[in-house]
């Protein structure tokens, strides 16, 4: 329901091809939804120290952002949220660069934490992203992990 007025004000979903500042995004989100009482978040960054020189995330324009928006609406419908933020990078990233930020504001702590958990599991395993890593100058595509499917099955 892209035209849904309530959804439009509560849900902020972005697919970015340039770096973003998670602290600034969280501060703005907390200010906008401060009345909720609680804000849970998860920030995924490119790991350092694994020998990965560069991480690249590819997406498919016609599917990736619409899929993230669907996920946001499903998440919002499943828990009592006062705000939901989903930001995901595409393109090439260096170690320590932010990849994904999910934040949920809710009156009740459980709702906020569960919504972040749910959205992350689905972003990781069901969103249209293909990832490759450069190590020692060689690019390798990353395959799905069994753990992702196990994570996902928790919500069935």
């Amino acid at each position: 329901m892209p035209g849904d007025a309530a959804g439009a004000s509560l849900v902020d979903v972005r697919l970015l091809d340039a770096p973003f500042d998670p602290a600034a995004e969280l501060a703005a989100f907390a200010a906008a939804h401060g009345g909720a009482g609680g804000i849970a978040s998860f920030l995924g960054q490119v790991r350092a120290g694994d020998g990965v020189e560069c991480l690249e995330l590819r997406h498919y324009g016609p599917l990736t952002l619409p899929g993230m928006q669907d996920l946001a609406r499903t998440t919002q419908a499943r828990w009592q949220l006062e705000g939901l933020l989903i930001i995901h990078r595409t393109g090439q990233m260096a170690p320590l660069d932010p990849i994904v930020l999910v934040a949920a504001a809710a009156r009740h702590r459980r709702d906020a934490l569960a919504a972040v958990d749910y959205a992350m599991d689905h972003l990781k395993s069901q969103s249209w992203f293909w990832k490759r890593e450069q190590c020692g100058g060689v690019w390798t595509w990353i395959e799905p992990r069994k753990q992702d499917f196990a994570d996902l099955a928790r919500w069935d």
Partner: protein
């Protein structure tokens, strides 16, 4: 009359490019004109396809028309 194939993830490496122009026509004929290794990979059962941005439930009877875009989507990378 041409259509476009889009290759995601490791299929791009196999195809040597992220996309390519192909003559319009039935999908079987389009695939038959590609490198056999690539055609086999595109037919993999875990590869999903999207026609003009809409995921297809199955790939029977697809005929590409002028300007159509058919994307081949291998499993996403996860974690």
């Amino acid at each position: 009359m041409s259509a476009r194939l889009v290759f995601l993830g490791r299929l791009e490496d196999l195809a040597g490019a992220g996309e390519c122009e192909v003559p319009a026509g039935p999908l079987e004929a389009v695939l038959a004109a590609l490198e056999p290794d690539l055609a086999v990979a595109l037919l993999g059962e875990r590869v999903r396809i999207a026609l003009n941005g809409a995921l297809l439930a199955n790939r029977g009877g697809i005929v590409l028309g002028e300007g159509d875009e058919l994307a081949f989507l291998p499993p996403v990378s996860g974690g």
